[in-house]
């Protein structure tokens, strides 16, 4: 799977909230390469003088017909804030597609639980669609502090059952994702998670208690995105440092030191 670095054209910036937007990117010159769910883009943020390095952003959805993909961006720092100020027609320099994605199981009819929180729900949308297209049945379990933190629910509903939790009880079940009743009422074949580290670790512990395979997508601080600088490492169960950008960002959680 070859990597590319090029200026893509912004076709739309869909504001989901003041600080969240979906940025649609189109390649006018060439057909997009194959993009797997869980892969990410290293975005060069121009017009942001204090942003020196690229920003790794996971791919939210891919639209082959429009030759577009989209990024769900949470404006937390200067770089991501500058991204939210993009307008249709602007160019965005992207290095992509990077890393290894989530597993799409062989066969069909597999029940997968896709557990996300915050901006970490981004890759689960594309993953959910690909799972459904492959004949599997994804269930989305999405958590937030409050109702306003739950994004793209209508889109998730197109691909499977959507279960939600909020810490303040304003939407879905009150509590955290690992408190949700669906974990007791339904059985699953595999679990995938992306979001805040404590959430992913809690999900991985739950999956491990039921001997379910669990994949997690990490978002370590990163420079090159290509496995060259060795900055974004995570420790494996056998105590080696491996790159999130190149060996991940999706890992089987049994590979990591999370159970220790």
């Amino acid at each position: 799977m070859s990597k590319h670095v090029k200026d893509l054209v912004v076709t739309a910036v869909e504001k989901l909230r003041d600080d969240y937007a979906v940025i649609h990117l189109h390649d006018p010159a060439a057909t997009l390469p194959e993009i797997l769910p869980g892969q990410f883009v290293e975005v060069r943020v121009d017009h942001s003088p204090n942003t020196f390095l690229r920003r790794p952003i996971s791919i939210n959805e891919v639209d082959i017909n429009k030759n577009e993909f989209s990024l769900l961006v949470h404006a937390v720092g200067e770089g991501t804030k500058a991204m939210l100020a993009l307008k249709p027609g602007d160019k965005l320099n992207c290095l992509y597609p990077l890393g290894h994605g989530f597993t799409i199981p062989e066969g069909s009819g597999r029940q997968l639980l896709l557990c996300g929180g915050g901006v970490g729900t981004a890759p689960l949308l594309y993953y959910g669609r690909r799972l459904k297209e492959a004949g599997h049945e994804p269930t989305f379990l999405l958590g937030g502090r409050s109702a306003r933190d739950l994004l793209q629910l209508d889109q998730f509903e197109q691909y499977g059952r959507v279960c939600c939790t909020t810490e303040d009880g304003t939407y879905g079940e009150h509590g955290r994702v690992t408190d949700h009743s669906v974990l007791k009422s339904q059985t699953f074949d595999a679990v995938a998670t992306c979001g805040p580290m404590p959430m992913m670790q809690a999900v991985a512990r739950w999956a491990s208690s039921l001997n379910l395979p669990c994949e997690a997508s990490l978002e370590n601080l990163m420079a090159c995105g290509l496995g060259a600088c060795l900055c974004c490492v995570v420790k494996t169960i056998d105590n080696h440092n491996i790159c999130v950008c190149q060996d991940g960002p999706v890992f089987n959680t049994q590979q990591l030191q999370w159970q220790k």
């Binding site: 990597k3 590319h4 020196f52 690229r54 601080l221 496995g227 060795l230 995570v234």
Partner: protein
Amino acid sequence: MAKVNVNIGDGLQLKNPVLTASGTFGYGLEFADLIDLGRLGGIIVKGTTLNPREGNDYPRMAETPMGMLNCVGLQNKGAAYFCSEIYPKIKDLDTNVLVNVSGSSPEDYAECAAMMAQLDNIPAIELNISCPNVKDGGMAFGVTCEGAASVVKAVRKAYNKTLIVKLSPNVTDIASIARAVEDEGADAVSLINTLMGMHIDIRRRRSVLSIGTGGLSGPAVRPVAVRMVWQVAHAVKIPVIGLGGIMTAEDAIEFLMAGATAIEVGTANFIDPCASVKIAEGINRWLDEQGVADVHDIIGAAW
């Protein structure tokens, strides 16, 4: 078309003065999808030590104004792994492949260098006596004339191809260190390695980096690097390779005019993976525009 080929000592011919800096370009293959590696003067691969090293814990980097800090700490799988697993994949690239060699004693620097000497398609090594991120060795050797000389002396006996010594800027007088390694038979010096720095997360009241300090690179260090290249080029007769925050061809030309015979592109590879090739092309274009027939005509032009 201006002539852009340069030689480093007798044994290293570069088709152009652009090398990629160790630790910023992996083994070259990571960038092979994105650029034609054959358009580079050479690639200096990730720092290699005799024995495998896991490096430091995460977090290993922090973004800083016009630059970044890193404390990777020489993570690599060791010299034997390099020779058996990596070298076969890169030995036939259409460019010079150089190995950056590090160690924790003069003896293991020499042993690692001797292993590299056996590899026919590695025409030169860059001796890293300037890594700020390891406790054992690394920069400890590079900050005194005696330490630097002791490593070069040991390696020189074990390695008869082109020997480049990468110098630390974290010293009082870099020119005297350069002279010390020249006296022990180094064929060239490269400078600067990263400047030691620190970034504190004021909310957590802790350094961002796992080991507290790290090495600063990027355009933030460039004026320091140009000044040091100028000083060292005046102090030694062997070629100087300049690096430190080079992002564009114009930046590279500044180093050449300060007295560098070649340059290395480092942190820029993270911002634009095509930076090294663009810089090589840009030097060519600039020389043509200026009516300069040979890159040698601008080396030291600012003296």
